[in-house]
Symmetry: D2
Subunit: 465 residues, 4 copies
C-alpha cells in the first residue's frame, strides 16, 4: 500500500490541520527520499540534520537485520554486546588521544540526553541552576525546554486569532546569556572588534556576568551548542576555548550539546574538537544512529563517572541502552570509521564553502553564510544596500513571515528548491540550512547547490520587481 | 562474539560499579532470554512489564525486517504509512465502541509521553499545575519526575556514606494526593469501609481536597496510573470512575498513564476500559511496540485535538513518529488483534489469580496479592501474626533492606527464582511483581509460579529458623 | 477634621470600589473604636485578632510618646535599648522555664516573620522545601503565600464575570498536608476515633505521608498554626505534641506561626506551651505590639542561633528592629506581665466557653464552637437536623455566599451585631470569630456575647421562616 | 538606662557574633545620632538613605504624638483620615501635572512594596515573569529576593570556612538584564559611544533581548531602580526614557522602585520625573515616612487601579494603612512641601557635586563619583594609572576585601570618617555612599565632606607607602 491511510486524520501535528503536508514518504536510499507518487527528493538537509551515513546504508541495514534476529529488548541492567561496543567506540575511537570520557549512558532522544546531562550536572555539583544562551535549542521536555532560548520552540501555541499562549509552566526559564551570533550580534558589536583588551569576546564576558548574577554557588553548569541548529549559526572561533576557560575558572561544568554537531557533521568527530578543549558533559543524538533508531547519549568526564560509580542512582529509563538502538549506533560508528566519513565531511565542507561564497557574492538577497563541514546556513536579506532583513525580529519568532506583506522569503526559497526536487529546511526566519548526509556525492551536492542558486535568482528577481 | 567487551567499564549504570551484573544477554525468544553462558531465563516479569507479544514474535520480527528495507527515517512532518496505520489502529480498533480519541502523537519513551501529556493539558486548560499521587511513577525527565511520587525514583543519588542527595531541582514537586493503595492505606482506612455516605472512597475525597487546596483554577489535570507499576498495586474498583466524576465536576482534565497497564496487559486493551469511563488524555509506551523499538504515545480527546488542530504549535521532536518505531507499533497491534491476546491476558489472569491465592494461603511470608490480567504483585511480610512488614517504610525508600539486619526479603525471593532460571523483579521493598509476555504458555506460567512458590518456601523457612 | 477626604478614592482596597466601607475611624480606646459620626463600636474581634493590651493602653501610649521623643530610627546594625530589652523579655520572661530560644530577629509584619522563618529553616537545613497544611494562612508575600493553604487568600482576583484569576506565579505551592480541623475532618474521620493503634491522629499520619512524599531529604521544615486564624479552628489536643515528635523523628524543623495565637491570646504566652513541647522556629506579630506599631518577630532555637552567629548573612531589612516598633513591643510585654494578662485571658476564656456552650445549645443555626483563651470560632449551620452547611465548599472559597440563594449567613450575623455596635469578623464562610482585646472587661464581654446571641436568634428566625 | 542590656546576646544579626557593634544608639536629632557614651555622629548616610526630613523633625514628632493620642490601629478595611490624606498628597501633590496614578496601597516595608508591585503586575497582565537587572536590590522576601540581582544580598550565608550557602530556594532567579552601570559597563562599552545608530543604549538593547528571550508573552513587567542603592550607581541619562519606550512597545509594564530614590532624594519628588515619563507601577518606602514608622507604598496607574477596583482581591495585609505609619507619611509629605525640601535637595546636590569633583580630582584613590540631588557614590580605585580596582569582582560579592591582602579600602575610609564622627556607608566593595538627611545644613555638609576628604588622604597615603 502506498497511499494515504484514513488514520492520518488522527495524527496530532504541530501545524494547523489545514496546513498539513499531503504526501507520503515510502522509502529512502542514500541521499534520496521516495514519495508515494514516485517522486524522489534530494535530502539536502538530512531530516533535521540527522542522516549521518546516508539513508539505509547497506551496512547499517544489515546490522539492523542481524539485531532484529538476535535480541529484541532487555532492560538496562542487562549488559549486551552492542551496548558495550558502542561505549568503547565512542570513548576510544572518537575522542582523539584524549581520555576525558569516563562514562556513557544511552537514552532515546536528544531531549532525553539533555535532561540526563542536566540531572548529572546538578547532582555532581549539588547546585540547582543550569545557565543557557538565547537562541539555543536543547529539546522540548520540561527540563530541556527550560534551557531552550528560542521562544518559538518552547512548546507554546499560536492561536487562530494570532495570539500566543506559552506553556503555563511553573518553571521560570533558566538564566540565559546572549547568543554568540556574530551576524546579528545581540550586544551590538562587530567581530573581532568585540574583544576586550585580554582578547575575550564580549559574549563570553556577558556569559560570565550572567553566571555571576545567577550566583556562582547556585550554577551547576553552562550549556552550549557549537553549531546552533535551530538558531542556524556557528559560534565565533574563540568562543569555545574561552567558555572552557570561563567555566573552569568559575568552577562550573560545561555541557556541550552535540545532538546536531556531533558524529562528524562539522568535519571532526565532535565539534568541540576544533578547539583543543573538551567539555565535562557531552550529549549526542540524531547522527549517532544516523537516526535509524531513536537514540541519544550522554557522555561524562572520568571525575563525574567515578562519582556516580560509587553511588546508587534513583534513576530508571526503560529504553536506555536498547539493543536495536545500540546496534544502529555501533553500525553507524563503524561505517564512519571504515569510510573515514569525518575527513570526508571536512573535505566536502571546503567545496560547499567555496560554492556558497560564490553564490552569496552573486545574489543581492544573500547576506552571508556560516557553517563548517557539512552544516551551513545562508542568510537572506531584503535590501543588500541597507542590510535590512526580511523579518526584523529574526530568530525570535516563528514562522518567518514578513509581517507587513505576509511574504515569507524562506518559503519562496524552499519552494523553488522543492520544485527542483531538492529538500531544504529553514529554522530561523531569514535563514536556510544545508546539512546533507555525510556520504552525499559531489554530484548530488552540485544538484542541491544548483537548486539553491536558482532559488536565490527567483528571490532576487522578486526583489528587483 | 558472546563475551564481555572492555567497553562495558564505560557504561554509566544506576548501581555502584562494584554491584553491576556481570552477565551478557545475547538473545531472546518468546518468553525466554538467553545469556552468553548459554543459560536461558524465563522472562517472568517481561523486562519492566514491556514485552507484550513475546520476545521476537515472528510477525513482529518480519515487520521490522520489512521496515528496515523500506524507509529508515523521515522527520515528523512527513506522513508515512505505518504512522497513519498505527493511529487508525489505536483509535478505531482498541477503543471499543467509544470514539473519544481525536488525536495521537508518537514520541520515543514513556517519559516523553508523560511530558507531552503534561504540555498538552497545560496548554489546553491554560493552567500551570498537574496534580499527582504519592507512590506514582511517570518517568524521569524533569516534568515526569515532578509528578513522580516515588521518592526513590526521582533521580536522586544515595552516596557512599548512606546519605541521599536529591536532584537540587529548582522545581518543587507538583501537588500530590494520597496513593490509592488499599493494602497499606495511607489514610489508615480499610476498604470498603473507607467509603463515605455517598460511596466515595476516602482517597478520592482526599484527591478532591488536594486539587482544591492547590486551587482549582490553577490545576490543568490530575494524572493517574491504574496498575501502579513502580508502586506495585492496583487501584480499588471504584477509584477510576470516581476520579472521572471528580475531575469532570471540577473542570480538570484526567490523564491516564497506560505506559504499563495498556495494550492488553490487564485483560482489556487499556486498563481504564474496565471502568466504563474514558480519560481526556492517555499515554502508552512499553507494550505499545512490545519494546522492540523505543516508542511512546499520547492520545487526546476530540475536543483537545480540535483545539490543537487549529493552532501552530511551537513543538518539535526529532524522532516523533519514527518509521521503524511505528512499524513495531503496527505489527504489535496487529498481532494483538489477530491472536486475540487481550482476551488471552484476561483468561490467563484468572489462572494466575487462583494460583496466587493458593500460594499466598500456604505461605506465612506472603501477605496478599493484587493485580489483573497479566500484571500482579505479591506482598511479603515478616510476621503473619502481627502483620509486621519487613521494611517498615515500604514504598518510600529504595533498596528494600531491613535496616536492622540488612536482610532483603525480596532479594532472597528473586535470588531463589533466579537459581531456578526464572527472572522476577521487585520495585517496592516488600513486593515482587509478575508481568510475563502476554503470549506466555500455560506451561511456562507454571514454571514461573512454581519458582515463586519454592522461593517463598525458603523465605518461610528462614522466618521459622 | 473628621470627615471623608477626597484622597480616599485613590486608595486601592481589596473589594470592588462599589463595595467599600464609607465610614471613618477617628479614635480608639480600650475595647472601643470611635467613628467620625460619633458612633462607638465594641471591638469584639480585635482588628484581625491584633489588639492585645487594648486600644491605646495608657502605659503603651506613654511608652510611644517617650520613644518618639528619643530615637526615631537607626539601621538594624545599631543596638538600642528597646531592641535589647524586647529580646530579653521574649526569651527570659515568656518561655516558662524553657531556654530553647537562642535568637530573636524583629521585622515589620507577620508575612515578613514567615518569610524570615522560611529562609532560616532552608539555610539551616540546606534544603529547599517547606511543608504546610491546607486551610493555613501565613501571609501574602511570595514565600508566605506559597505556604498559605487558603486558596481564597493567595492574592488571586475574582473578576467581574465571576471567574477567578490566580496570581500567575512561577512558584508551585509547597507540599500541603490535610488541615487538622475536626469539625469537618478532611480525612472523613471523627475525633478521637481517628487515632491509629499507637494513638497517632490520622492528620498527623497524613502529614508524615506528605513529608515523605515530598522527600525527607528535601524538606527543611513543617509549618503550623495552632489556632488557625483564617481557617478559624483549633487543632486537636494531641496534634502539637505529635507533630513535634514527627518532625524530630524525620529530622525536619518545626516552625510555629504564633502571629495570632501568641502573646497570651490562648491563655498561655504562646499557644505551643499548652502542649509541653517547643518548636525550632517561632514567629510572632499582631499582638506583639498590640499592633500599635507594625512589627513581627522570628525566634529560633539555640542551635540555629549558634549556626547563624558564626556566619555572615547576606540579608538586610531596613526596618528590622525599628526603635518605635520595639518600644511598642517592650511596653506591650511589660503590661502583659504587670497586669498578668495571660492568666486573665485563660480565666476569661472559661467564661466565654461556658457562655458559648449555652448559646450554641440554644440556637439551631449554631453547630458548635472551638477555641481557647480569648480566641473562638462559632460555626453556623443551615440545617441542624442534617448537619447541612450554608456554604458547602466552606473554607475553600471566599465570600461565603450560599450560591443558590446568594444569602450570606455570616453577613447576617455580623450585620446584626453591628446594629448593636459590636464589631465581629468572619474568615471562613460558615464561621464567626471572637478575639477581643485581652483587657476586655467582663461587662464588655457580655455586651459582645449578647449581641452574638441576639444575632443568632435572627438567623434562627430566618431559618424557621 | 543607657547601657547595654544583657538581652543583646539574643539578637540575631547578620554578621558573626564576634563582629557585632558594641555601642548603643540612644537618641537622634536633625542630622545627628547620639550614642550611649555621649558621642554624636553626623548621619551622613541617612541610615540606609532613609532619613528624609531629618531625625525627629519637630513637626513629624508632633504629628506622631497626636497620632498616638488618637487611633492606635484599625484594620485596613477601615478608612481613616491620614490614610485618605496621604493618598491624596501622593497623587495630587507629588506627581507634577501628571495624573497617571489611580491607586495607592500602603504596606510596611520596601520589600512588601516590591512584593505588592509584582503581584499587581502579574495579575493585571496575567503573566508569570518579572524581568530585572543585575546589581539590582529590591528587598529580601521571597519575591523581592528573586528580582534582586546583587548575589550578596539574596539571603545566603557565608560559612566559617569561607564557603557560601545560597538559600536552597525552589525558585530560579527571574530573568535579569545587564546592569546600566557606566563606570564598569558589563557590556564592555563606553558611554555614550555605546549607543546604536538609533541612539539606543546598549544596555537598553540588552534589556529588550532579555525580555524577548524570556518570551514577551510571559513577561508581566520590567522592574528598575534609577539610583541603584545597593549597587551605588545612577543609570545613564537616556536609560529611563528608553526603558519606558521599550516596555510600552513590547506591551510590558514598567515598575519603578523608588524606595531609595523617591520623596525628594534626587532633587525631584520621584527620580523618574527627571526623565519626562512615568512608570505603570511605582514603589516607595524609607523616605516616605522619614523612616519614623515602618511603611512602604505601591502606586499604580489609573488603568490598573480601575481593573482592580472592579474585582474582589484575595489579598490581606494586617498593617496595611496603619494609622501611625500614615501619620508619619502625611507629616513627612507636608514638611517636604512646606519647607520645599525637594528643591533644597536639588540645590544642595549642586554643592555636593562640585565638592566631589574637586575631591576626586585631588585623590588618586578616587576614580569618580555618580549621583544626583542628595544621593552620591564615590568609587575607590587601587591604581589610578591603570584603573585597577581594589576588589576586582566588585559589586558581585561581599564584603569588599582585597582577597590577596585582606585589606578593605572602604573599611579604611569609613573608619577614618567615623574617627571624625561622621557616619558613612558602603554597599559595593569599591564604593562609599553619601545620602544625608534632606535638611542637612551647609555647615554639616562640609563637616561630612571634609571627613571624606581627609579619609581619602589616608587611603592615598597608604597607596603611596
Ligand atoms: C542541539 C539539539 N539538542 C537537543 C535536541 C532535541 O532532540 P530530540 O528532538 O531528539 O528530542 C535537538 C533537536 O533538534 C537539537 O538540535
Ligand atoms: C507508568 C509509567 N509511566 C511512565 C514511565 C516512563 O517510561 P520510560 O521509562 O519509557 O521513560 C514508566 C516506566 O517505567 C511507567 O511505568
Ligand atoms: C497566622 C498568621 N501568620 C501570618 C500572618 C501575616 O501577617 P501580616 O498580615 O502582618 O503580614 C497572619 C495575618 O493575618 C496570620 O494570621
Ligand atoms: C531600592 C530598594 N527597594 C526595596 C528595598 C527593600 O526595603 P526594605 O528593607 O524596607 O524591605 C530597599 C532596601 O534597601 C531598596 O533599597
Amino acid at each position: 500500500m502506498t497511499g494515504r491511510d484514513p488514520g492520518r486524520r488522527y495524527l496530532m501535528g504541530t501545524s494547523p490541520r489545514t496546513h498539513r503536508l499531503d504526501v507520503t514518504a515510502t522509502g529512502a536510499e542514500g541521499s534520496w527520499i521516495e514519495l508515494a507518487d514516485g517522486r524522489r527528493l534530494l535530502d539536502f538537509h538530512g531530516q533535521h540534520m540527522c542522516i549521518g551515513v546516508g539513508h539505509r546504508h547497506p551496512k547499517l541495514t544489515a546490522a539492523l537485520h542481524r539485531a532484529v534476529d538476535r535480541l529484541d529488548y532487555v532492560a538496562d541492567f542487562f549488559p549486551h554486546q552492542d551496548k558495550d561496543r558502542a561505549a568503547r567506540l565512542l570513548v576510544e575511537e572518537t575522542m582523539d588521544e584524549s581520555a576525558w570520557v569516563g562514562g556513557v549512558r544511552f537514552v532515546s532522544s536528544g531531549s532525553e540526553a539533555t535532561e540526563l546531562a542536566m540531572i548529572v550536572a546538578k547532582l555532581y555539583k549539588n547546585r540547582p541552576l543550569i545557565v543557557t544562551r538565547d537562541l539555543a535549542y536543547h529539546g522540548w521536555t520540561a527540563g530541556a525546554a527550560a534551557v531552550t532560548g528560542i521562544t518559538a520552540l518552547r512548546n507554546g501555541l499560536t492561536l487562530e486569532d494570532g495570539s500566543s499562549r506559552p506553556v503555563p509552566t511553573s518553571h521560570p526559564p533558566y538564566p540565559s546569556a546572549p547568543a554568540p551570533i556574530c551576524s546579528s550580534c545581540p550586544l551590538g558589536q562587530t567581530y573581532p572588534s568585540c574583544k576586550d583588551s585580554t582578547g575575550t569576546l564580549a559574549c563570553v564576558n556577558a556569559t560570565e556576568r550572567v553566571i555571576r548574577s545567577a550566583g556562582v554557588d547556585r550554577v551547576a553548569a553552562f550549556i552550549t551548542e557549537i553549531w546552533h541548529g535551530a538558531g542556524a549559526f556557528l559560534v565565533p572561533d574563540e568562543y569555545v576555548g574561552q567558555i572552557r576557560e570561563l567555566t573552569r575558572r568559575l568552577g562550573v561544568l560545561w555541557i556541550d550539546d552535540e545532538a546536531i554537531s556531533g558524529v562528524g557533521r562539522t568535519g571532526r568527530w565532535w565539534a568541540f574538537q576544533h578547539y583543543d578543549v573538551h567539555p565535562d558533559i557531552m550529549t549526542a543524538a540524531k547522527g549517532l544512529s544516523s537516526s535509524a533508531v531513536p537514540v541519544g547519549a550522554c557522555l561524562v568526564s572520568t571525575e563525574i563517572a567515578d562519582f556516580f560509580g560509587r553511588g546508587w542512582w534513583g534513576h530508571s529509563s526503560t529504553f536506555a541502552g536498547h539493543p536495536l538502538a545500540l546496534a544502529a549506533v555501533v553500525a553507524t560508528l563503524e561505517i564512519m570509521i571504515e569510510e573515514d566519513l569525518v575527513s570526508r565531511a571536512a573535505d566536502l565542507g571546503g567545496v560547499v564553502e567555496s560554492r556558497l561564497k560564490d553564490i552569496v557574492a552573486r545574489h543581492g538577497c544573500a547576506a552571508g553564510y556560516s557553517g563548517r563541514g557539512l552544516v551551513w546556513g545562508v542568510e537572506l536579506i531584503r535590501d543588500p544596500a541597507t542590510g535590512q532583513r526580511w523579518v526584523e525580529a529574526d530568530r525570535w519568532r516563528n514562522p518567518g513571515l514578513d509581517p507587513t506583506t505576509g511574504f515569507q522569503p524562506t518559503g519562496l526559497v524552499l519552494g523553488e528548491c522543492l520544485r527542483r526536487d531538492v529538500l531544504l529546511f529553514s529554522y530561523a526566519p531569514n535563514t536556510v540550512t544545508i546539512a546533507p548526509p555525510l556520504r552525499i556525492t559531489a554530484e548530488e551536492m552540485e544538484i542541491g547547490l544548483d537548486a539553491l542558486d536558482a532559488a536565490l535568482d527567483r528571490l532576487d528577481e522578486r526583489n528587483a520587481a
